[in-house]
């Protein structure tokens, strides 16, 4: 139930943050349709190494769509053509013999390129450091069942907690805004009783950090939701705005 094909690639190569990048064309033959997209890059890299060339650098770890390490723009779409799928979970059966695929890194001022397809997303960590947590020291917790959370409320919060922090939302946004990422954390915590006491300081601090990092503003393009591998809804952004206004009106 598999077939093989020839795939042409145009891959962004950039030696370092300050270096000039360019597209380089490659052809890979005998691509098995059951391969993942990253395995295609692996196979190409092995070839490059044997030829004495530098392999293409790209980030990955789990290859299961959960760690958020991977992320490249494929044919203009963050994480590629399959909806709700991180690029490590994209498989070659969605391509045809002879296809040409264009591969680029996330492009955003706040995500500088480190090398080839690898970018620096540490701005996301700093947004979380600004307030994306519940302040509870180890040992301070009451019995878990003393906090009652109706199932529906919990599930709603979970939909936002599912964010893997990959950065596709930023890469897809014409303004390179981090609103979906930030909104998801705010909506997760504001949606649960544990997160309510600090909700005001949290939203104000996280939004401020988002701006400091150089992410753009949200103007409701909804491209972020379309590419999110976890299908996080842009209602996160509406919740963030609501929380923000509430915090500003009565700090």
């Amino acid at each position: 139930m598999s077939h093989t094909m020839t795939i042409h690639l145009r891959v962004w190569r950039q030696a370092g943050p300050e270096a000039r990048g360019r597209f380089v064309a490659y052809t890979v033959r005998n691509v098995n349709s059951n391969m993942s997209f990253l395995e295609l890059l692996d196979v190409l890299n092995e070839k490059l190494i044997h030829n004495g060339d530098d392999p293409i650098e790209f980030d990955y770890d789990c290859r299961e769509g959960i760690c958020g390490s991977c992320g490249t723009v494929i044919d203009g779409v963050a994480h590629g053509p399959q909806r709700r799928t991180a690029v490590c979970q994209l498989h070659m059966r969605h391509y045809n013999d002879g296809d040409t695929i264009v591969v680029e890194p996330w492009r955003a001022t706040a995500f500088p390129v480190i090398r080839d397809l690898v970018t620096d997303r540490s701005a996301f960590d700093r947004i979380v450091e600004a307030g994306g947590y519940v302040s509870v020291d180890t040992g301070n917790a009451p019995d878990a069942n003393t906090i009652i959370i109706p199932k529906e409320e919990l599930e709603n919060a979970f939909d936002f907690a599912a964010c893997i922090g990959c950065g596709a939302c930023v890469a897809a946004c014409p303004n390179a805004s981090a609103s979906l990422f930030t909104g998801a954390k705010i909506a997760h915590l504001a949606g649960l009783p544990q997160g309510k006491p600090e909700r005001k300081e949290r939203v104000v601090a996280m939004v401020k950090q988002m701006q400091i990092e150089g992410f753009g503003d949200c103007s409701n393009h909804a491209e972020c939701e379309a590419v999110c591998p976890k299908g996080i809804s842009i209602s996160a952004i509406a919740i963030m705005r609501r929380e923000y206004i509430k915090a500003k009106i009565s700090p």
Binding site: Y60, D61, E129, A157, F158
Partner: protein, 639 residues
């Protein structure tokens, strides 16, 4: 040095040991804590929880991880759940029962006192995680929901959809983030620990490499916590994340930390089978699927009919047949071995014939598709994404894969290795799972170690140990940096003809074929020879591209590969030494007439901890005798 190792287990009744310990330890004056720097290598559940908690207590923490963010540690991938003895479902669970199941599940090759403490702490973990905002599954009434998992006869597993590890890790990561903001934790991402620095017999720092700039750095501290996860990737293909490795632990081993039970490996029964030689990793299908899925193969060898065309009476539900009381819920090692047997008999399914069916047809009839979708929707989706097949319509194909390593650096009751000041937490240590780990207990152990054990045991060490002033200009740092740098130069200079991945695949197949689900002396001896020659070949013929001054993944992997090549040999040695079958370690020579593993408690009720004695000498076996004062050693029977 003594042949035997003492775990320093506190005296007294099992149920009171941990309290006794806590009552007797020395405490660090709160105002003094900030004078102590603690290095935490790894930001998975063990390292993340330890770093956050120690920082809250006032220690100055330096945290390190390979990934670009602490949030991406391999723990993120855990799916199924985390155990605790809360007994919320009122189905008879107790701390004792969780302890007993864990020690029995480990086939009596773990230490009673540690396992009991783990069970005791389990409940606090759930409380802590819920307080952080971890969205564990709830009942309609708003209370926490539990499920039964991996062979347990009570429902004690807490879960967060199929993303339990992710949600627990984000909880720990967020707690860390708070401490980073407070200036208590300095976070070093994209760093790899390359060596441990030991001064006057104490662990006093590490040498790391900045994976972006290639620079080698020195970090001094009063203690080092190694939380670097497991080494399943020695088999090349495994369910571990691609960056999981043994380097940090192996470097510590070479500096004097004993490596315990290295051959105890868990092969997980429900993974998506290999599809081709380009395969880069294997994906686990959570074993919670075995709660509702039925495992079977055709009765006939070489049956190529579509599964739906095979009538009921021509299917062999071999787990239900062989183990009527546990059925599909037998422990992992048993389920894996039986899948292997079915395939060895020629009854495997799919193109490669290295797979068995996991079938939801009956469960869907019983519960309806909606229930199944609610329970396993995201797992089914994942399966379809990878295989292109819809498991609602055709049974899943699954096969065992390397998943977890019970072995690891030896630690005493305080989680301290044989190098004073070097503590080892989480999967990187050997401590709690014996020869086989039960489902949902690794997350529990990682968090127990980090949130609730290390804050006490580290404090005791700091308060009771004289520590001289040490900084990074010490000769030991200079030497360690020199060694690390020389190794990198050597790797780059070989410029042979075979890539790191090609070597890794070769090592993986030696390990899988000889030190895998089923082992015998002959295979193990041959593995030792094969690995040793592969290692020689590696150092003469590896081709590492590029240079050391920029991001170079292949160079990272080359260093890890070199260590895997040493570890692999030790694993084979350990498996050869252990003339018995226990848990995941199945020696063909030691089995009962009906094919179950046979333990030898007389001669092998010990932890085998190997001491490094230089490149040219064989490692020395040291033993920790396991004393069972509270449980009777029975034969695990799941019939």
């Amino acid at each position: 040095m003594a042949q035997t190792l003492s775990a320093k287990v506190p005296p007294g009744r099992l149920q009171e040991k941990w309290d006794t310990y806590k009552n007797q330890i020395k405490l660090v004056n709160p105002a003094n804590k900030r004078k102590h720097t603690i290095i935490v290598v790894g930001t998975g559940l063990a390292g993340g929880s330890a770093a956050a908690t120690l920082a809250e207590l006032g220690y100055m923490v330096k945290s390190f991880c390979i990934q670009d963010s602490a949030r991406r540690a391999h723990s993120i991938a855990a799916q199924g759940g985390i155990n605790a003895a809360k007994n919320y479902p009122n189905d008879g669970d107790t701390i004792w029962r969780l302890f007993y199941d864990t020690i029995k599940g480990g086939d009596y090759r773990s230490r009673e006192a540690n396992v009991y403490r783990l069970a005791e702490i389990s409940n606090e973990i759930i409380d802590q995680c819920v307080a952080q905002g971890v969205p564990f599954a709830r009942e309609y009434g708003g209370h926490l929901d539990n499920r039964s998992f991996g062979g347990a006869q009570v429902s004690r597993t807490f879960y967060a959809r199929g993303q339990t590890g992710q949600q627990l890790l984000l909880g720990a990561y967020q707690a860390m983030s708070r401490q980073i903001a407070a200036g208590q934790i300095s976070m070093y991402e994209r760093r790899e620990m390359l060596d441990l620095v030991v001064i006057d017999g104490q662990a006093r720092g590490i040498v790391t490499r900045d994976l972006v700039t290639g620079e080698i750095e020195r970090h001094a501290a009063d203690a080092v916590l190694l939380c670097t996860g497991g080494y399943g990737n020695v088999y090349y293909l495994s369910t571990n994340a691609k960056n999981s490795n043994v380097t940090a632990a192996w470097r510590c081993h070479r500096r004097g930390a004993c490596f315990a039970n290295p051959s105890f490996t868990q092969i997980h029964p429900t993974c998506i089978p290999v599809s081709g030689d380009y395969q880069s990793k294997l994906t686990l299908m959570s074993e919670s699927l075995r709660n509702d899925g039925r495992v079977w193969v055709p009765m006939k060898k070489g049956d190529t009919r579509a599964p739906r065309d095979i009538p009921e009476e021509e299917r062999d539900y071999y787990l239900e047949r062989r183990y009527p009381s546990f059925g599909n819920l037998v422990p992992r090692d048993v389920a894996s071995r039986n899948a292997k047997y079915a395939c060895d008999e020629g009854r495997g399914v799919g193109n490669t014939k290295l797979a068995v069916f996991l079938d939801f047809r009956d469960a869907m009839q019983r519960l309806g598709r909606a229930r199944i979708e609610e329970r396993y929707g995201n797992l089914f989706e994942m399966y379809e994404r990878i295989t292109g097949e819809n498991p609602y319509e055709v049974p899943m194909r699954i096969y065992p894969a390397v998943h977890y390593t019970m072995g690891g650096l030896w630690v005493d009751y305080e989680l301290m290795s044989t190098v004073p000041g070097l503590f080892v937490l989480g999967e990187a240590n050997f401590s709690d799972h014996g020869a086989n780990r039960l489902g949902a207990s690794a997350l529990m152990q990682g968090l127990a170690d980090g949130y609730f054990v290390i804050p006490y045991t580290l404090g005791n060490y700091i308060a009771s140990t004289p520590l001289s002033d040490v900084d990074i200009t010490h000769d030991a740092f200079t030497q360690a940096e020199k060694d690390a740098s020389a190794r990198i130069s050597k790797l780059l200079s070989v410029q042979g003809t075979k890539t790191v991945t090609e070597f890794h695949r070769d090592l993986g197949s030696i390990m899988w074929d000889n030190v895998g689900m089923s082992r015998n002396a002959e295979c193990l001896e041959s593995a030792i020879g094969l690995i040793s020659s592969l290692r020689k070949e590696f150092w003469n013929n590896v081709k590492v591209p590029g240079d050391r001054t920029y991001y170079n993944k292949n160079l990272e992997f080359a260093g890890r590969m070199a260590d895997f090549l040493e570890l692999g040999e030790l694993m084979a040695r350990d498996a050869l030494m252990r003339n018995e079958s226990a848990g995941g370690h199945f020696r063909e020579e030691y089995q009962t007439s009906d094919g179950e593993g046979e333990r030898n408690d007389e001669d092998f009720a010990f932890v085998g901890a190997w001491e490094y004695r230089g490149r040219d000498s064989e490692p020395m076996l040291r033993k920790e005798d396991l004393e069972f004062e509270n449980v009777e050693l029975t034969t695990r029977s799941y019939k």
